[in-house]
Symmetry: C2
Subunit: 206 residues, 2 copies
Amino acid sequence: MKPNKISEAVVRRLPIYLRYLTHLQQMHVHTVSSQQIGKTLDINPAQIRKDLNAFGDFGKKGIGYDVGYLIEKIKQILKINQEIRVALVGVGHLGHAICNHNAYKRDNMRIVAAFDNDPKKQGETVAGLTIQPLDEMNQTIAEKQIRLAIITVPATAAQHVADLLIEAGIEGILNFAPVTIRTTQDVTIHHTDVTSSLQSLAFYLN
Amino acid sequence: MKPNKISEAVVRRLPIYLRYLTHLQQMHVHTVSSQQIGKTLDINPAQIRKDLNAFGDFGKKGIGYDVGYLIEKIKQILKINQEIRVALVGVGHLGHAICNHNAYKRDNMRIVAAFDNDPKKQGETVAGLTIQPLDEMNQTIAEKQIRLAIITVPATAAQHVADLLIEAGIEGILNFAPVTIRTTQDVTIHHTDVTSSLQSLAFYLN
DNA sequence: TAGATTGTTAATCGATTAACAATC
DNA sequence: TAGATTGTTAATCGATTAACAATC
């Protein structure tokens, strides 16, 4: 693996490659070219070759990429060749949906704890998990070796919840609350918000 | 409004600005500087001024931006100063959550139709909407003047559903299915996928 | 060998940021 | 006036793409 610094754009494309390669594997396709990947995913083939080559020489000139080998390599790069345990905070409609979706899928990102500050929800289960109060976060995150967190609380609570999570040692956060979360710590925070996404779509209306 | 071409990066930031400005308005703040916005949203102030200035001279030198005025301007730019009607296809856990969330919010992006190809779901209601079969899509989209669509069906069905929506005259699609949707038509397609987002987060684990 | 495709450089393109005159 | 802040240019930085030698 070449240790040049990797841009976020590349990191965001890797899961997209992985998803398509996994699909190819299920179709029993053993080899694929950057051109074929590019055509399917609407990405420039040179871009794909450059992205992959930043981590090593995975392809064969004149042949292409071995699907199974490339899947393994990308999983290594993304560090998802091991189970990554995830906590979810805020079991509203969206949190509920994400928990169920995750339980149904079989991949290495596993939600193993769910928290909510509503006493009425605490003790109930979602996707097989008992909903816990926020003050159990520290202990549970340590005990279960949870490294990532998903925030699906209202905007007003999001920063506070993030602070608690970071304090508890979480290394990355995926935030669905419509607010920008900030931190001085070395924690990666990705934002995603349905409303903002829809609003930016509206810009392109004729 | 200056007619230079606007990059997608800018369009994605506009809703973020709008969100914060709306917050300021609720706090009865009347004026704000690019520096203040930048500090809160973790965005370079020069970036913010440049983004906004691409659409007109909205600020006052030495003073800053009038919050209410800027909100109106951004809404105009995003074309959300009118109600935009949205269809949702695929009423699973996620589709359900998005419908409920949208019904609860009071903004101008309104989900007014929900479709699912499962006969058991058809006729049931979600967030006050009767779930309809896919073959009613064409008529409903025309009648209700629906312009955007949210896809929350499984990956295997997503491209087909997108083709139907585009055929029905939809102008933009927000796709939550873990697959890249392609089209030859002039339709904007944005992708968002929880699994991919989590996977890219994992890259930054120590 | 001929055709295909990678790895990689160089060129291009675009986005971000610094800096400052204008001006409130 | 002095301080603050925009609008905007120029500089910088980074990402994408074209092109092609290497080679399977």
